[in-house]
Amino acid sequence: MLTVKGKCVFAGIAIGPMALFHRSTISTAAHTIENVEAEAVRFHSARKKAISQLQDLYDKALTRVGKEQAAVFEIHQMMLDDPDYIEAVEDTIRANSINAEAAVDQASKKFADMLSTMEDTYMQARAIDVKDISRRILEVLSGGIGVDFTKYNHVIIAADDLAPSETLQLDPDKILGFVTSEGSTNSHTAILARTLGIAAVVNTGTALHTDVDGKTAIVDGYTGLVYIDPDEATLTKMQQKQAESLAYKKQLEDMRGKESMTQDGYKVELFANVGNPNNIPQVIMNDGEGIGLFRSEFLYLEHNDYPTEEEQFEAYKKALEGMKGKKVVIRTLDIGADKKADYFPLAQEENPALGLRAIRICLTRPELFKTQLRALCRASVFGKLSVMFPMIISSDEIDRSKDILQEVRNQLDKEGIAYDPNMEVGIMIETPAAAIISDELAKEVDFFSIGTNDLTQYTLAIDRQHTGLDKFFNPHHPAVLRLIKQTIENGHKAGIWVGICGELGADLELTEYFLRAGIDELSVSPPAILPLRKKIRSLNLSQK
């Protein structure tokens, strides 16, 4: 048995015979050409044919994997149409009086090198796109020798790397999985594999040779391990894991489109936590019913300067439009000395968790807060937006925050700019102080969202990042659970909804406890949505 380890691309398990991916070798040896103009024409007609092949692939991809993933074939067409690339080939043919194959090969290397020496690892990975388009021209030039994709039937493919066009031409119903020695999890091929749902492991660093052809192999997309010629025990173990994985996936699939309701009719809103508008497709894919925590920090932490009102407005609008009228709860700036941006002057602190952070920064620097609130108000007409203030410990902080919000609204009124006057205003309950006086705070706001990560750390006085404290840490500590229960009860007494947006929300062992306590909304990371819905649907609160 040979075991190799690579990077996981798609979590699934494939078991079957291995087949080495075979490409015909096309000679790119240079030889002298007498009629260089005719050779340039030969290159152009091959190039045009390659572009039309890519158009066919694009059409095929459009129906199979959707517009977003199909775009790669549009980009490949643009690459073949790029004047810089064309010139590089033509100039080489003319200047050296050599054949089109050699000239394409040289241009391919030149552009692939240009990309692979870039700083950005994503751009480095695009070198394979250049090689792919160049190979396509070479195949046409050589009279159409291509890969015979039909011969791969019910196999696990082993390759050095697969080009996106190659992945797409593999029939997902006939390909069990693939293993590549090179390539990255960022490649278009990896993305396509995820979309098509093919178990895959890339970048194993171990080149496989023809001796693996036909041997039984197992691809474990959960661990990144690939077993070739497995022993009986491994095979049995992995067959079982495969069956469990398939059964579980099927059960989760069945949860899509279903209500998040217990057997006795208790309904919970099941929302998603996201850190960037680009994560919205993931929310939709996992059937999130809304966004319960949209962290606005990315706007601050990933920029070189304070984000402008316009930049923020665009990001919020994008999130709201992406969610098509479903609720989006946006949390205002929540940074502190432990996560800060270069341009943002925050003094080094002894104890940043207890320092100048979140709402405390906003109330210290109201101009910063106003910019964000203006952007939020303006975006609020594009969907159903709720705004949420973090790290609250007193009614006074809520009053001051709402005063600033009112100032912003007055200014917008003056300027005749539209906003949603009914936008919900809520707070995070993440300090023991807020949980204890939640009866008072509930009178001031439209909702509570319990941030269990900070609430736990502040209640237990345990730093969650400190691994040495693991033996003292109990994530289900009764003090935290009581504070959560009390917050829910106090919220309901004042007639407002209460949700949980911390990690505990996804803890399936606590789901029943939260539901019995009366929770209205649970907001979790997108991949946790369907497992949580499954759990909720399995519960019956009328039975003890």
Binding site: D84, M114, E302, N304
Partner: protein, 85 residues
Amino acid sequence: MKEFTYTINDPAGIHARPAGILVKEAKKFESSISILTANQKGDLKRIFAVMGLGVKQGQTITIQISGPDEDHAADTIESCLKSNL
């Protein structure tokens, strides 16, 4: 000539897909369209030139457009940047 700046919001920067969208839009116009970073310049109608700039999130780019349809081109490219990057 029309000129405007834009700061990239997308965490991945101008990666292949938005680069493709920009090039596709730019090609629809007769005007010449350039994309400038602090120290480099590229033709917005050429995919390799745009990708080769390696523009990252938070970086501000300048778009310069000159030609008969520059007004229309400026509007189109600007809204294309806003909705994709």
